[in-house]
């Protein structure tokens, strides 16, 4: 088989060899016969006779070289290539349709593969599991998802009958300096066994190991990522042993990790790995490393060879239950209600295979990417149908050729194969060009991803997996688009095709109509999908964040990362706030401890002391803000008052005196009655002491994101321990022009203080709508392409029908039919296709609706207006496309039409 393929490439040489070999045979035979007395002519005749037909021998030998089907296939390909070159416009249209389909699908697949499917570049990633706590941990926490405490990770690491090792990690941002300026950098805080369990080695120096000292604050070392080493340190060979400053604490570099390894979180490339024992330095103010009730790290483990996820999960439970009992008896375990205690004891450990690591980007993009992938797959299907239609159209033009070949004895299978070879050839050319445009498309797509994504986290290049995908997509496309024409060729009756005059095959038309109907059905699905996403985006934009964003700028400062103590830091940032307010460029300025519209928040359940004690049944979103906050953002105080000097704590007093809650809070927990004077506090246990007075009610606005309508309670930001926060500044005029002046003000307070996330709030709103933008834009453009493709298909079929029925229409007109009825004749045909396409498409719309429901906002997948509008657009566009051939039909001159034949 392989040799045969090789033979194809050296067939010239083989041919020449065979020719020489046979000539030699013939010449020797002739010489021999001559010497036995025959005359030259007679000897030649005799020799040729003995040998048999030379051409036939050559054929047989060629069959040995390349087996029969392979030779036929190469002939088919050659024939197809020639016929395509003869019809460039046809070929270009077909190839372009497929390039569009394959290119788009491949580009989206590239992201699907990298973000959703690709296993980590570590040893045997299939043995990695994510370990999570299902139930109430009775713990405080910070971070994203799947969080547990550091001590639990250490306990799990000891369960050696299941795990080769269990490590934990947490992502954070540190102020990092290699000698020059401090810059915010992504850092991963990891347990000492992180690299060992993953199986990742160093390119330089060494990585952290179990032999490193795990005692808190004892091991001031760090491992750099290859990315950071390359981009920030110019791959300096002498970096091991040097010191870096993390939040002003010196750490010694012990090594640089392997170049392929970018952490376990797709989308974030850490600059530095810091041992968990140094977490107090990496996270200013953090001292709960050894606290079992502080959840902040993701815990992942490597199962022993041969241990199944479910087995390990089931077998771990007894140990886990015993640990829960032990935890309850520990000193410092919080006082909780019996109900909560039950929930705590009912907790279980959940193990999930995690060959791709843990990624919040993946979590965010999981659904949008699959939806887009489905959309592009539909688009590819549509492109295939278009090519199918084109082939059928050409097939009817080639009727004569095919009829003749059938008459000469070609088998139907052979003809069908020929047609399949043609479509495969087109598909491969389309696939190759698709691969060529894919990197450009991927780059465009990456621009749509959440802006926090590290630029080096994803690559735009074409790798072997992508090539394989594009190859399979091309084969599928080739087969799909060749199927209908091949089937048509196999069905054609020889008699009828020879009898027909000038290529009028009606079977082809029926098939083409079916194809157009299918295209309309697919297009309906895509257009409805796009309309839903557009309405979602529109609804969210119309809703807005609930405050005035124009001329509003925000940036973050965390003074503790620059070495300030909490009290000093608090004074520093309030001083900066004051300076900004004094500046002539600003209208108003305020600090919020937590930034708005980032997807995150500070949240906790609360206890309200009204007539009875009310415990909120879900988390309340909390924040603390300076008194200028509401005025700066244009948020109304509906009832009561704003924070003022009365709310400032007395010297030495801890905690807040007052709070402002939002309308949603009042509505949900107090049934709309005035909350002023009621007392609340954080926490839901029996030991919670509601001692904070509600002094005001603010109008609702978005905190975590535009979609969420949450209950919120805000505390005053005065002198105290809060040493960082996000500044909101309303400037007089265009915000961009004032960024340097704001930078200048911060710089004069402390020149080394880095400002993070410096941007306008409008920009922040856009960022928070990132996946909605992506879905609306991409599905919108894909469905526009789909609409275009199916209109072209419809137009093609209708013009063909009109050409075929010219005679009939001419006769009708001659017999007194009006032009209008001729137009109607054609439009009726088109309308039938469009309507049946819509009928077939509606169930698909329903299925798609279920897929995307969670991505929508204030619009149902079965929204009648959206569907009605889409149908209207499809019908009018379809009829528009059919109107051109219809108009031509009405212009038929009866005498000309009758004279055609």
């Amino acid at each position: 088989m392989i040799t045969q393929l090789v033979n194809w490439f050296r067939r010239k040489k083989l041919e020449a060899g065979l020719e020489r070999e046979l000539r030699y045979h013939l010449d020797r035979r002739i010489t021999d016969l001559e010497s036995s007395g025959l005359p030259t002519g007679e000897a030649r005749r005799q020799a040729l006779l003995e040998l048999g037909g030379i051409a036939q021998i050559e054929e047989e030998v060629r069959d040995v070289w390349l087996s029969r089907w392979l030779r036929d296939f190469t002939y088919d390909l050659r024939l197809s290539t020639r016929s395509f070159l003869r019809m460039p416009s046809f070929s270009i249209t077909a190839v372009l349709s497929l390039v569009l389909g394959i290119g788009a699908t491949t580009a989206i697949y590239s992201l699907v593969d990298q973000v959703l499917l690709h296993a980590l570049p570590v040893r045997q990633p299939e043995r990695l599991v994510l370990i999570d706590w299902h139930g109430d941990q009775v713990a405080n926490g910070f971070g994203s998802w799947n969080l547990m405490s550091y001590p639990i990770c250490r306990d799990l690491d000891k369960q050696k009958q299941f795990f080769e090792g269990v490590f934990c990690r947490a992502l954070t941002t540190v102020n990092l300096s290699t000698g020059g300026d401090y810059r915010p950098a992504a850092a991963e805080i990891v347990s000492n066994n992180y690299f060992q369990v993953l199986g990742v080695g160093p390119v330089l120096g060494r990585v952290l190991t179990n032999d490193d000292d795990g005692t808190p604050n004892a091991n001031p070392v760090a491992v750099l990522s290859y990315d950071f080493w390359e981009t920030q340190l110019g791959r300096a060979p002498d970096v091991v042993g040097r010191k870096v400053l993390v939040n002003r604490h010196p750490l010694t570099i012990i090594g640089v990790a392997a170049s392929t390894f970018k952490g376990i979180d797709v989308g974030v490339v850490p600059s530095i790995w810091i041992p968990a024992s140094m977490s107090a330095q990496a996270i200013p103010g953090f001292s709960d490393l050894l606290d079992r009730r502080t959840r902040w790290m993701q815990v992942l483990g490597r199962l022993n060879q041969g241990v199944k996820v479910q087995e390990a999960e089931a077998a771990l439970q007894p140990w886990f239950k015993a640990m829960l009992q032990e935890d309850m008896r520990r000193a410092g375990f919080p006082v909780i209600t019996p109900e909560r205690r039950r929930e705590f004891l009912n907790s279980s450990l959940v193990l999930a295979a995690a060959p791709q690591g843990h990624s919040s980007l993946r979590r965010r993009l999981l659904e949008p990417l699959w939806v887009l992938f489905a959309v592009t797959a539909l688009l590819l299907g549509l492109a295939c149908l278009n090519v199918s239609g084109l082939f059928l159209a050409r097939g009817s033009a080639r009727d004569r050729e095919i009829g003749t070949r059938l008459a000469l004895g070609a088998s139907r299978g052979r003809l069908a194969r020929q047609l399949l070879a043609e479509s495969l050839l087109i598909a491969f050319v389309g696939g190759l060009l698709g691969i060529a445009v894919a990197p450009v498309a991927v780059r465009t797509l990456i621009a749509f991803l959440p802006p926090g994504t590290a630029p080096t986290a994803l690559h735009v290049g074409v790798d072997s997996r992508l090539l394989l995908f594009a190859f399979l997509a091309s084969i599928a496309a080739g087969l799909l688009s060749g199927l209908a024409p091949a089937w048509q060729a196999g069905r054609r009756s020889l008699m009828s095709s020879l009898r027909e005059r000038g290529g009028t095959a009606f079977g082809g038309v029926r098939l083409r109509k079916i194809i157009v109907t299918a295209q309309i059905a697919l297009t309906l699905t895509l257009v409805v999908g796009a309309a839903l996403f557009l309405r979602t985006l529109d609804a969210l934009m119309a809703k807005g964040p609930g405050f005035i964003t124009s001329s509003l700028v925000s940036f973050g400062i965390d003074s503790q990362r620059s070495g300030y103590s909490p009290a000093e830091g608090n004074r520093l940032i309030r001083r900066i706030d004051e300076a900004i307010r004094q500046s002539p460029i600003t209208e108003a300025s305020a600090i919020a401890q937590f930034a708005l519209l980032t997807g995150g928040s500070w949240n906790d359940p609360m206890t309200i002391l009204a007539d009875t004690r009310i415990v909120t049944n879900r988390d309340v979103n909390l924040n603390s803000v300076t008194p200028g906050f509401f005025q700066t953002l244009g948020i109304k105080i509906i009832e009561g008052r704003n924070f003022d000097e009365r709310d400032a704590p007395a010297p030495g007093e801890k905690g807040w005196r007052s709070a402002i809650v939002n309308e949603a809070f009042v509505k949900r927990y107090l049934g709309g009655r005035s909350p002023l004077g009621l007392r609340i506090c954080e926490g839901s246990g029996p030991d919670a002491k509601p001692n904070i007075e509600i002094v005001g009610v603010m109008s609702d606005f978005s905190y975590r994101g535009l979609r969420e309508d949450s209950e919120q309670a805000y505390f005053p930001f005065f002198e105290g321990e809060e040493a960082g926060g996000t500044f909101y500044v309303r400037v007089r005029g265009r915000p961009q022009s004032f960024l340097p002046s704001l930078r200048e003000i911060v710089h004069s307070a402390d020149p080394t203080l880095p400002m993070t996330d410096f941007r306008t709030v409008d920009e922040q709103v856009d960022r928070s709508l990132n996946s909605e933008h992506m879905l609306a834009t991409l599905s919108g453009s894909f469905s526009a392409l789909a609409l275009l493709l199916s209109l072209v298909g419809l137009y093609g079929v209708m013009s063909f029908v009109v050409t075929q029925r010219t005679r009939e229409i001419g006769i009708r007109l001659a017999l007194g039919a009006t032009r209008r009825s001729a137009i109607w004749l054609v439009l009726r045909d088109a309308l039938a296709m469009i309507l049946s396409g819509i009928g077939i498409g509606l169930p698909f719309v329903w299925a798609l609706g279920r897929l995307v429901e969670s991505q929508l906002y204030e619009v149902k997948p079965s929204d009648p207006i959206v569907i009605a509008l889409t149908i209207l657009v499809l019908c009018s566009a379809g009829l528009g496309a059919a109107l051109i051939p219809a108009h031509r039909a009405s212009c038929v001159n009866p005498t000309d039409a009758l004279r055609v034949e």
Binding site: G17, L18, D27, R28, T31, G52
Partner: protein, 98 residues
Amino acid sequence: MLILQIVSLEPLHGYGIAQRVDQISRSVVQVNQGSLYPALHRLELKGWLKAEWKESETGREAKFYSLTASGRKQLAAEKHSWARLADAVRLIFDEGAR
């Protein structure tokens, strides 16, 4: 098998093989000279024969076929199985004669 046997004695070109077949089989087996070449190429593809261009006895270049190691093995195997078949047949005839 016939071709393999002939070539096993000495490397030969196509024409030589055809003549040898003629000689050996006399008129018992009529081998069409034309079908010789596809057979030779098939054996070459299977790796039992190898071919090289050499000067022939008349001084012209000709394609000489010779047996490869795996060809030799194949020939032995075929001889063996043929011998077993022949033995079996003879046994049947001997039984019948007694």
